[in-house]
């Protein structure tokens, strides 16, 4: 058995399942609005690599230079690792990144992440596709 082939095949099997993972922790639709997509670019100020969700904190500047703090929720660390994220290497404090996700229903600067564009331009999924909380009968907005 070639040593690297099982790794590639196992990782491929994991990745093929990654897109179907959803938060098993709570209902997406009760907290986030799948019809309210948001794309934010900012500087990473904090990363919490924790269960039940990882969190990324961004400082986001508007055109007048005013800075707002945003917080994005993502997959738990186990899922992130299986998707290829390296805890201390893939993304760091000070990185300028772009996050696509969906806004919290309570109007705060809080959102659920989906896709992150890293400084290199590479895109990786940090959170699940939007659920709706009603069993998936209303499709969410996927915007790039």
């Amino acid at each position: 058995m070639r040593a690297k082939s099982w790794q590639a095949c196992a990782a491929a099997a994991v990745l093929s399942l990654g897109s179907s993972r959803l938060s098993a922790h709570h209902s997406f639709g009760a907290e986030y609005d799948g019809s309210a997509p948001v794309t934010v670019t900012g500087v990473v100020t904090r990363i919490e690599w924790t269960n039940p969700h990882a969190f990324i904190y961004l400082d986001v500047s508007d055109k007048d230079g005013k800075v707002a703090s945003w917080k994005f929720e993502g997959y738990p660390p186990g899922v992130l690792q299986r998707l290829g994220w390296k805890r201390d290497r893939t993304m760091k404090i000070g990185d300028r990144i772009t996050i696509f996700g969906w806004r919290a229903r309570d109007g705060s600067n809080w959102a659920h992440s989906r896709e992150i564009t890293l400084p290199s331009g590479e895109k990786m999924m940090f959170g699940p596709p939007a659920g709706t909380g009603d069993g998936g009968s209303t499709p969410a907005v996927e915007v790039r």
């Binding site: 959803l22 098993a24 709570h26 269960n51 690792q81 290497r89 709706t132 009603d134 069993g135």
Partner: protein
């Protein structure tokens, strides 16, 4: 599934080329590790289509790292294959179910890091490791880092037990199918994230049949006379995640969602 893996393999190779070039020590986390005692193809991959193995006691080996075959379909809605009006809910249970749907499931127990019951736990996408011992099956669930025991030593179900989040389970073999009966759940769990109710009267029958190395059929019957007018069944399934390993997942360590669960 094969096409998905082929496409995913391309993404893996591209990702590995970019990420692995970063400086620093190689990660030592056991995300994947080659399993022993599984049939492999000449290229080293697990032969998922091979027939299941039989153990020395003659039983089919159910062991493996399993994830739901249908993704999160039945976690979101256990009755996804039913028209809503055909789910045999008692009137009070239908009213509760509709209220939970209206609120987008904001009060699902998971938001407080409370465990899922059976059968919702069968549909958690994080996966589980099934260990098969002579007298019991042990399910090590990655989500919540919680275990479940299914006793196959012939013991009867307990009478009037202390209610438990995942109840009490015993299993017996019918040919190559393991039939598991679970009672004693605490009535605080939902059957899915949409909000199907379950009470302390809930009795769940799960029929596990391993079709191949890579697939397990899981036929589930819900029998809860307090919440439903008759028993009803769903066909679930698991796929093997080759060479996967459990990763600890403690929900309570940084749970921030509860204050934001406004519902709608």
């Amino acid at each position: 599934m094969i096409r998905e893996r082929t496409a995913a393999l391309g993404r893996v190779l591209a990702l590995a080329a970019s990420v692995s070039m970063a400086p620093g020590p190689a990660p030592a986390q056991w995300i994947t590790y080659p399993a022993k005692n599984v049939p492999r193809k000449p290229d080293g991959s697990v032969d998922l289509e091979a027939p299941p193995r039989r153990l020395a006691d003659g039983r089919i080996d159910l062991a493996g790292f399993w994830v739901p075959s249908s993704g999160v379909k039945y976690l979101l809605n256990l009755a996804a294959d039913y028209k809503p009006e055909d789910i045999p809910l008692q009137p009070w249970a239908r009213a509760l179910y509709n209220e939970r749907i209206e609120n987008n499931g904001k009060d699902h127990p998971g938001v407080r890091c409370w465990p899922s019951g059976i059968p919702e736990k069968d549909n958690i996408p994080d996966g589980l490791k099934l260990l098969q011992l002579p007298d019991e099956i042990v399910l090590l669930h990655e989500s919540r880092t919680i275990y479940r025991q299914i006793f196959t030593d012939g013991r009867p179900l307990p009478i009037n037990p202390q209610p438990a989040w995942m109840g009490y389970s015993v299993g017996r073999w019918e040919g190559d199918t393991l039939v598991v009966e679970t009672i004693g759940q605490n009535g605080r769990t939902w059957l899915d994230m949409r909000g199907l109710p379950g009470t302390e009267a809930l009795r769940v029958i799960e029929r596990f049949t391993r079709r191949s190395i890579g697939h397990m059929d899981l036929d589930v019957t819900i029998d809860d006379p307090k919440a439903y007018t008759r028993p009803w069944s769903v066909k679930l399934g698991w796929n093997l995640l080759p060479d996967a390993e459990l990763i600890e997942s403690i929900c309570e360590e940084n749970n921030k969602d509860l204050p934001h669960m406004v519902g709608k």
